[in-house]
Structure formats: C-alpha cells, structure tokens
C-alpha cells in the first residue's frame, strides 16, 4: 500500500471518515505519520474553539475581578482560583463524573426535553472544561493587564468626552489586549498542549476516534516501540507551536501598529506547561 493510499484511507480517520479498522499489522512509518496527523485535527479543534470562546468569557471575568462591587468581584476571584489552582487532569475527571450523572433520557425544561447524552462525549464535555480552564487563566492575564493600563490614557479619554461603553471599546479594551498579548500567546500555546490530556485521562475515545496522542499511544501499544510514535507527536506539536507563534506575532504587530517601531514590544515566548 503506497503512502498516498494510506493518506486517503486514514487522513480523516479521527473524524470517522475512511477505513473503519485501524491498521493491525505491518505498521509503516507512513501510517503512523498519517494517523497521528489525523488525530491532530482534534487537538486543533479543542484548542481553537476553547481559545476563541474562552477569550470572551475571560474579558468578562477580568472586568468582574476589577469591579468595585463585591458581588461581581468575589465570584470571579473564586472561579479563577478554582480553575487555576487545580490540575487540569483532575478537572477532566471531575467533570466527566459529574456529566455522566445527568439523566440519560434528557431533562424536562418547560415541557421540552433537553438532550444531555452528548455532553459526556469528548467533543462537547472536554471542550467545556478546556473553555472554562482557559477562560480562568486568560482572565488572570487580562486582569493584570487591565491594572496596568496607564492612568493618563483614561484621563485623556475623559477629557475628550469618551465615557462608558465607548471608552471601554476604544481605549480600555485595546490597551488591555496590547499589554496582555505576550502572556496571552503563552496561554494559547499552553492550551494547545493541554488538549493532549483529553483522551489520555477522563474522556473515553469513541470508535477509535482520538487525538494525536491517542493514536501515538495506539501505535506504541501495537508496535511495542515508544521511540517512533511519540517523537512524531512531538514533531507535530513543535510545528503547531511555531504556527501559533507566527499567528499571534501578526496580531501583536497589528495591536501595536500605532507605536514607533522601536517602542513596539517584541513578542517574547514564555509558554506554560501542563496545568
């Protein structure tokens, strides 16, 4: 079987397209590269969706934590502490345990039955955990950035009569993003790395559709040789990290385009690891 055929058969295997059975004997390097690459689709899916949705919640949380009202501040502080203070590993486990407790027939809300079974599937359940987790981490970054927005900027805005929502949208928010961006880049990288935990602990793989690490694990198990599949995953992730760095670098330049070139902060990478 040529490598092109392997690509056609297994390129989208992680989504359930192509051959149903995974290779069972005579493993080639090509099969390993293709299947593990196919699994990477899930890592990107989890990472990208959790990051974008988490971004919105993080902004809200950061504002709540900086708010004067206790009723806003305390819940935000506790939420952030809970998710930043515990390992993701344990969050996955607890979330899975909680989700399987939901009634399987669905819940009746005002006569309409709301389906709940899909929540225990990794694509939904794990995404929710990752979303809440990254929201908490990003909120802490944005909160720090919010605290260091120069006072002068806000005073100038007020002098021009910019207040309320307009002040937030045009002054506070862009400055917060600009200041928090390097740290936020790290958080993004860190989140993508964390997606490898989804199938490794907590959520079961459905019909052998898993992420890059799941397939690497499969091959390590079948070939009894960990020194091929795991370095392949590592290679994919180094590429993914590089791509992400470039993407965030472009955004960083755009956020700072009003500054003189020598004042623009260079994007320094300091990704965090497992949480």
């Amino acid at each position: 079987m040529s490598c092109w055929e392997t690509l056609a058969d297994y390129g989208l295997r992680s989504l359930g397209v192509g051959e149903r059975l995974l290779p069972r004997s005579d493993f080639t390097l090509c099969q390993q590269v293709v299947l593990i690459g196919s699994g990477l689709i899930w890592n990107i899916y989890f990472g990208a969706l959790a990051l974008t949705s988490g971004f919105v919640l993080a902004t809200g949380l950061a504002l709540a934590k900086a708010a004067r009202s206790r009723w806003l501040r305390k819940p935000a502080e506790w939420f952030i502490f809970l998710f930043r203070g515990s390992p993701l590993f344990i969050q996955f486990f607890l979330a899975y345990e909680a989700l399987v407790m939901l009634p399987r027939q669905g819940i009746d809300v005002f006569g309409i039955t709301v389906e709940t079974a899909w929540l225990t599937r990794a694509w939904a359940g794990a995404l929710i955990v990752l979303f809440l987790n990254t929201a908490a981490y990003s909120a802490e970054i944005f909160y720090g950035a919010l605290k260091s927005v120069p006072k002068g900027d806000l005073e100038a805005a007020e002098a021009y009569g910019i207040t309320g929502w307009a002040r937030f949208r045009r002054i506070l928010w862009p400055t917060m993003l600009r200041l928090g961006w390097p740290a936020y880049t790290n958080e993004a990288i860190f989140l993508f790395h964390a997606t490898t935990l989804v199938f490794f602990s907590g959520f079961p793989a459905f019909q052998q559709r898993g992420d890059a690490l799941y397939y690497a694990n499969y091959f390590a198990d079948k070939t009894f040789n960990p020194f091929v599949p795991y370095p392949i995953v590592a290679g994919y992730f180094i590429l993914l990290t590089l791509g992400l760095t470039l993407l965030f670098g472009v955004a960083n330049r755009r956020l700072n385009r009003h500054l003189a070139p020598n004042q623009r902060p260079r994007l320094k990478l300091r990704p965090q690891i497992i949480r």
């Binding site: 407790m101 399987r104 225990t120 079961p204 019909q207 390590a220 009894f224």
Partner: protein, 242 residues
Amino acid sequence: MKNLLIATTATLALVSGAAFAQQTVRMGTEGAYPPYNFINDQGEVDGFERELGDELCKRAELTCTWVTTDWDSIIPNLQSGNYDTIIAGMSITDEREEVLDFTQNYFPPAASAYAGLSADADITGGVVAAQVGTIQAGHVAESGATLLEYATPDETVAAVRNGEADAVFADKDFLAPIVSESGGEFTFVGEDVPLGGGIGIGLRDSDDELRGKFDAAIQSMKDDGTLNTMITKWFGAEAKTF
C-alpha cells in the same frame, strides 16, 4: 559443626542458582486486574498470579521480587530490562509473540464475555466498552460494534453502569465476580468468546535459560495437579482447568 553446615548450604545454593546466583528475578505485573493480580489492602501484590509466581520461583529455585507497572508501558519496560518477566494476565497472541517469548500457558485459553445491564443488550451494533490495548478491544473494533475505550478495567465497568456503553467486553474471569456481586444489576450477554492462546509468562527473546526454568516449573505444576487446585481456588469451581 554448625558453621560448617551453614557454609555447605550456602555453597549448594550457589551451585544450584548458577547464573541467577546473585540476580533476583523481577516479576512485572499490573496490580489492577483482580483476581489475576491486584494490590491488596496491605499494599502488596496479591492474587492468583502472585501465588502462582511465588510457587514457580520456589520450584525453579529462583529469588523473585514483585514490581508493578502501568499496562501501557509493560512491554517496553520489559524490553529495556526494568524487570525480567511479565506475569499480568497477558494472553499469548501472535502480535506479542513477535516481540516477546512466552512460556507455555499457565491458564487455559480464557473465555472473554460481554456483560451488560440487560440480557438483550446490543453487542453487535451497540456501544461496547473495553480496556485500551487489550485483545478484547481489538475484537470489538472488528465485530462491528462501536468501541469505547477506557484506560483501566474499572472504568469500562463504570461506563456500563452509568449508561455510556451498552456492554463491557473483558475476560470472563474478571467479570464473573462483578456480575455475581452486583445483585442482579449486571448480567452476561450472549455467548462467551474464546480469545488468545491462554495466558503465559512473557520474557525477553534472549532469556531462553529463564524461560526454560519457568516452563519446567509450570509443567511440574500441571503434572501434579497443583495448578488446577490453584485455579479453582481463585476462579471458582466452574473455571476451566487443564
């Protein structure tokens, strides 16, 4: 006189031990698959394989110690020499034969079975849970049912209990106590499926001498019937014997 005696026994031990005189044989197991092997409440390896392994070591005149390891890395760790045998309910399969050597089986080809919450659970088209990387998982993937894989045997059973899966597929001897103690919650579904060539001790290809010793010890236990007694003790009177 007393000193002399001690010296003689010591020499005898040296001669009989030969290659393994200074070397203890490290027995690798998982410690999470009762009644084959598990960690008992004192924190020690216990179970059928513990008792069997100790008896085999006695007959082969080897000093043995027990090591537990994760199922996922149980073979790579043997290959790199972190222990010398795998005695962990590992079925003899062609795939494994390619990288390992097995002794003759010490447990007859075991039946695997489906267990579910009702006797008519769909095991050919429904969702079936199995432990990742087992021969049972491979069988389910080929059977047409939807395979749901978990890291530990415990989780596969939990998956059926909470409705994630319609049935669990595992060694019958592992499921038997769970089914009988569940108070009617669990029941076996469908026919038993014979898988694999029985359970043997896995060794490195190059350890022919050690394999010979264990082979002989297993044979002697088969011959005098102690192996059958041990199987009946741990797996009940209905269990298959030699």
